[in-house]
Amino acid sequence: MSRSTRKPFKACTKCRMLVPHEVNICPSCGSTSFTDAWSGVVIIVDAEKSELAKLLGIEKPGRYALKIGT
């Protein structure tokens, strides 16, 4: 396979939300700082009922990186 393994999303370095590469402002926190160095994903569907959201301190539904950095 010669296809690049570029990630489908970049992560907001502030709130860890995952967004498409063409997005310039984080829809969740308004930050303009993003990184491709992230790993692990959590998708919060129901922020009120989700224990994952609580454990990770996430308040809004969406896709988030578990970890920022390499």
């Binding site: 489908p8 370095t13 502030k14 709130c15 790993s39 692990g40 994903v41 959590v42 998708i43 919060i44 569907v45 129901d46 009922k49 989700s50 224990e51 994952l52 959201a53 609580k54 454990l55 990770l56 301190g57 896709r63 578990l66 970890k67 920022i68 950095g69």
Partner: protein, 156 residues
């Protein structure tokens, strides 16, 4: 830790799905889409160091079965479930605290000092707590913060 016990959503269950290795995120995104019409699904976890597995948080196996049916790259049926404590441990592995050392510069990413830079003074992994000195304060300000409230920005 015991103090959070009472606030826990005890109906939450964590089902483990096996996927083709490398397709974990693809599967999670398909499940996310399907979850929009299935109120029993609360969240989906793709741990970075657990290749070939994803975890679906829901009100029960029946809800997971509904959205998993026929999804590509899922191997077999629901492989089982893990406990809240196991999920906690899985997430803890990612603790950024483990990479922090005294002298490192961090950015506070949550709480009242959000957005400010700080220097790490000490790290308490067991309590998931970090003691920092806020750099942009008018006077020396030392505070203890939960580990998840800081993010490394560079070595001191």
């Amino acid at each position: 830790m015991a103090s959070t016990e009472s606030k826990r959503n005890l109906t939450s269950q964590f089902a483990v799905l096996r996927t083709i290795s490398g397709k974990e995120l693809n599967v999670a995104l398909v499940l996310e889409l399907r979850a929009s019409s299935e109120p029993g699904i609360y969240g989906i976890l793709v741990p970075s160091d657990l290749k070939g597995y994803i975890i679906v948080e829901s009100d029960g196996i029946h809800s997971v079965q509904k959205i998993v049916k026929g999804v590509k790259h899922v191997r077999g049926r629901i492989a089982g479930s893990i406990t809240y404590e196991e999920v906690e441990r899985l997430l803890k592995v990612k603790s950024p605290l483990e990479e922090l050392q005294p002298g490192d510069v961090v950015e506070v990413v949550a709480g009242p000092f959000k957005g400010l830079k700080a220097t790490v003074r000490s790290v308490n992994l067991a309590k998931n707590e970090v003691e920092v000195e806020i750099l942009e304060a008018a006077y020396p300000l030392k505070v203890f913060l939960p580990g998840d409230n800081v993010k490394p920005v560079g070595k001191g």
